[in-house]
């Protein structure tokens, strides 16, 4: 066997919790900045949540500038963007009413007909639908968070649940903040990514908490800080391995999966990194707030 895993010691002894104050300050700052960004700059809402019309075309012998010139003479709120390569162009329009947009799609198609090889897709989301989708998205995220917490609460002591909430809130806020800075399009797929990140981050946290609980039973005399450190160290190679394999798959999706899926892959990549970080540096230290040793009560 040529297992490289021998590089990572079986019982590493890294003092993760020693630096907890620094990480805590970093994370609190990150969350505050995220909140400020979200309230001032906001997210780059795609048509799913903002409503409007989107047309993707592949062109021949035409520059994006030429198309822009043709369209902007008829529409003041049109925006064009190259999508993946210079021959594929996304056209976005904001429409007020449902009826208007149907006519818009037709007239846009007529205006640029002779420059276009193929109309690859056209999407239109009316104002009522976009606000419904946004509402349902938030509903899904909140219910998922609540359901996950209930599960943690049933399987562990409530203190662990608290640690998980803190870590989850951190992950979601931090990810949203980065999406805002990077101007990543926020769509239905992004909501799916956020939910998956929540699941993933909790998954990571649960594995470490499982070990904390086991060690609490095993080492009754150990200082809590040392016990938590030990638990993180015990699970460290798993934490790293799983994050790496997941990131490998996601990077492959990001690079090769096509333009449409790219924002989803990017959001997931960001989320997996933040989720892994928070499991170790946020979720576990949060447990220190409680001077608990559930086993002591049982004895």
């Amino acid at each position: 066997m040529f297992g490289l895993n021998k590089i990572i010691p079986v019982e590493p002894n890294i003092n993760f919790l020693g630096l907890r104050r620094n990480f805590l300050i970093f994370s609190i700052l990150a969350m505050l900045i995220s909140i400020v960004l979200l309230s001032i700059k906001g997210l780059n809402l795609g048509i799913d949540f903002k409503g409007g019309t989107l047309i993707e075309v592949s062109t021949k012998n035409t520059s994006i500038g030429e198309l822009r010139e043709i369209l902007s003479s008829s529409y003041s709120d049109v925006s064009l963007q190259e999508f993946g390569n210079e021959n594929i162009i996304l056209i976005r329009l904001q429409n007020k009413s449902n009826q208007e947009s149907i006519e818009t799609v037709n007239s846009v198609k007529n205006l640029i007909q002779d420059k276009v090889v193929e109309f690859r897709r056209s999407e239109f989301v009316g104002p009522t639908i976009s606000s419904e989708l946004l509402f349902r998205g938030f509903q899904a995220v909140s219910f998922a968070l609540i359901a996950i917490l209930i599960y943690i609460w049933l399987r562990f002591e409530w203190q662990f649940g608290f640690g998980a909430v803190v870590a989850l809130t951190h992950d979601v806020l931090f990810t949203l903040g980065l999406l805002s800075i990077l101007n990543v399009e926020f769509s239905l797929a992004t909501i799916a990514a956020i939910l998956t990140i929540a699941g993933y981050s909790i998954n990571d946290t649960v594995v470490i908490f499982d070990r904390v609980r086991e060690n609490l039973r095993k080492y009754k005399k150990l200082e809590l800080v040392d016990l938590f450190n030990l638990s993180v160290n015990n699970t460290l190679s798993r934490t790293i391995m799983t994050s790496l394999t997941t990131l490998l798959a996601l990077v492959s999706l990001f690079i090769f999966g096509g333009e449409v899926i790219r924002p989803f892959a990017l959001t997931m990549i960001i989320g997996v990194i933040i989720g892994t970080y928070s499991s170790v540096f946020i979720a576990v230290p949060t447990l220190l707030i409680f001077k608990f040793r559930p086993q002591d009560e049982d004895d």
Binding site: M1, F2, L4, N5, V10, E11, S58, N98, I102, V105, N106, E118, F119, R120, R121, S122, E123, F124, V125, G126, I129, L133, R136, A140, F143, A144, I148, Y151, R155, L188, A189, I191, A192, L195, T196, G199, Y200, N203, V206, V207, D210, R211, T235, S237, R238, T242, T245, T246, L247, L248, A249, L250, S252, L253, F256, G257, G258, V260, I261, F264
Partner: protein
């Protein structure tokens, strides 16, 4: 093989074989196969095979308003019968308030009215009668309108020649349409954009002044011409006969009039039409479609055969589309398109290709990584990972799930996450190997200890996936399906298949010690 029960080996091997066999139809993917086995393939979502998704909203407000108008007409008729004078009528959003000149017969009017419209809320306040559309009454209107709309939409789509459309009610007042293979839904949208309410009315040429003042007297309506908004007709409000009495309509060509639509009435329609044309020779008969007059020819002789033609400035396509609409029948209320997503076959094919490449490269990266880290055990985990992929594909195929672009993303993500269970097990084995030397005991403990962690960790992911399915729509559901199936399959492959493979390997390699 010692330490491993035979029944367990048998179960694992058969499940793996089933997983691989049932993945075959989706891998071959013969689109038109009628073979019972090959038919169990994955359905491609509209975003992958190309097609149109439309969400239509039935404009119920129009219906409620129409009903309020009906109330007004009926109240006028009843009060005329009862010889009570109406002073004023207020039409509000959900209510009609009628002011009578005296309150003596108001109760009779109320009772007569109730005979016609059971279920409305009626209230008398001194000389006022208030007629309200209550929630129940509105719900009855709503339900019948949606049901009727669904039926008409289905007929129109069928007539348009679209293959395998999906048409279903969505929520309270919406209709969801999935049209695979329809790249450009303009024609469909045209077909659905008209209510196609056809009525025939006698033209009133006597009251020219009403037309000049643009004020229709009771029992009459003013309707503009289809081709010229400024030309208006004064018509009897009551239709002679309507589209509901049509049994057939076809696009036809007339030597003098050009493209036209020929139609035929049922017996009742033919009788009505015959009677009216007999009694009104010399007058004009207006053909009204969705609130505009298409044509208003003079009745030169009685038409008793029950058939006729409608002429207008049609071209061949318009005439045949109108015939389709008339055959399918009128929508009870207009439909508004509130969401549309159309994907061309080109983009769909590109997405599939990109998804496949991403999945293969992701798979190779993860496999290489696992071998680098865990050596032989990594290779065993890779076998599980590949089988895992087969199982996802076969489950998707056999339950008839739809694979979407986010669904492909879910599969790629699963490739990365599925090895987690194996990693958890291997790490436990590694720890156990420090504590003792008995090879099979180490493996057994490793699997046992990792079990509860694997369950806890995967259930949280499943919770997120299930809620995503419950609240998500369309393509996103595809993601939650592949993610859930992937998570479930990965638990099986890690706890059963990897377990089996590790035992097989250790038995044959005859290892005396285990150092992971």
């Amino acid at each position: 093989m010692k330490n491993y029960p035979i029944w367990k080996s048998f179960t694992v091997i058969s499940l793996v074989l089933l997983g691989i066999i049932f993945a075959i139809p989706s891998i071959i993917y013969d689109e038109n196969s009628e073979n019972w086995f090959l038919k169990n393939k994955i359905n491609l979502g509209l975003d992958l095979q190309g097609g149109s998704y439309l969400l239509l909203e039935v404009q119920l407000d129009v219906l409620y308003k129409e009903e309020l108008d009906n109330f007004v007409d009926s109240v006028r008729l009843i009060s005329r019968d009862q010889t009570v004078k109406i002073e004023k009528i207020d039409i509000k959003e959900n209510e009609v308030v009628v002011f009578f000149s005296n309150k003596e017969k108001i109760k009779n009017i109320r009772d007569d009215f109730f005979q016609m419209y059971r279920g409305v809320t009626l209230q008398i306040i001194s000389n006022k009668l208030s007629i309200q559309l209550n929630d129940e009454y509105r719900k009855i209107i709503q339900d019948s309108a949606i049901k009727q709309s669904l039926e008409i939409v289905r007929k129109r789509i069928d007539e348009s020649g679209t293959k395998e459309p999906l048409i279903q009610r969505s929520g309270k007042k919406r209709i969801l349409l999935q049209l695979p293979g329809v790249k450009d839904p303009e024609r469909i949208k045209d077909l659905l954009g008209k209510t196609a309410k056809l009525t025939f009315h006698i033209v009133d040429s006597d009251s020219i002044s009403a037309l000049q003042n643009n004020l229709a007297p009771f029992g009459k309506i003013i309707v503009p011409d289809m081709y010229d908004e400024n030309t208006k007709y004064l018509l009897d409000k009551r239709a002679v006969v309507g589209g509901e009495n049509l049994v057939d309509a076809k696009g036809s060509f007339d030597q003098t009039e050009g493209h036209a639509v020929s139609f035929r009435f049922d017996t009742e329609g033919a009788q009505k039409f015959g009677k009216v044309t007999t009694n009104n020779i010399g007058k004009n008969l207006a053909v009204v479609l969705d609130g505009v007059v298409i044509t208003a020819p003079r009745i030169s002789s009685a038409i008793t055969g029950g058939s006729g033609i409608i002429t207008g400035n049609f071209n061949a396509q318009e005439a045949s589309d109108l015939a389709v609409l008339l055959r399918a029948g009128a929508l009870p209320a207009p439909l508004e398109i509130v969401e549309e997503r159309s994907v061309g076959a080109g983009l769909g094919a590109d997405s599939i290709a990109a998804g496949q490449i991403a999945a293969i490269i992701g798979m190779v990266l993860v496999c290489v990584f696992m071998i680098l880290i865990y050596g032989t055990f990594g290779a065993l985990a890779n076998v599980s990972l590949i089988v895992n992929l087969f199982i996802i594909i076969s489950l998707l195929g056999t339950i008839g799930a739809t694979l979407t672009l986010p669904g492909i993303a879910g599969i790629v993500l699963t490739i990365g996450m599925a090895v987690d269970a194996n990693v958890l097990i291997f790490e436990r084995i590694k720890e156990e190997s420090l504590k003792q030397t008995k090879v099979f005991q180490i493996v057994k403990n490793g699997f046992d200890r990792a079990m509860s962690t694997i369950l806890d960790a995967n259930i949280t992911t499943l919770i997120a996936a299930v809620l995503l399915f419950a609240f998500g729509s369309g393509p996103i559901r595809g993601f939650s399906i592949t993610l859930s199936l992937g998570v479930i399959a990965s638990m099986f492959t890690a706890l059963m298949l990897t377990n089996f493979l590790v035992y097989v390997y250790l038995s044959f390699a005859n290892k005396k010690e285990l150092k992971l």
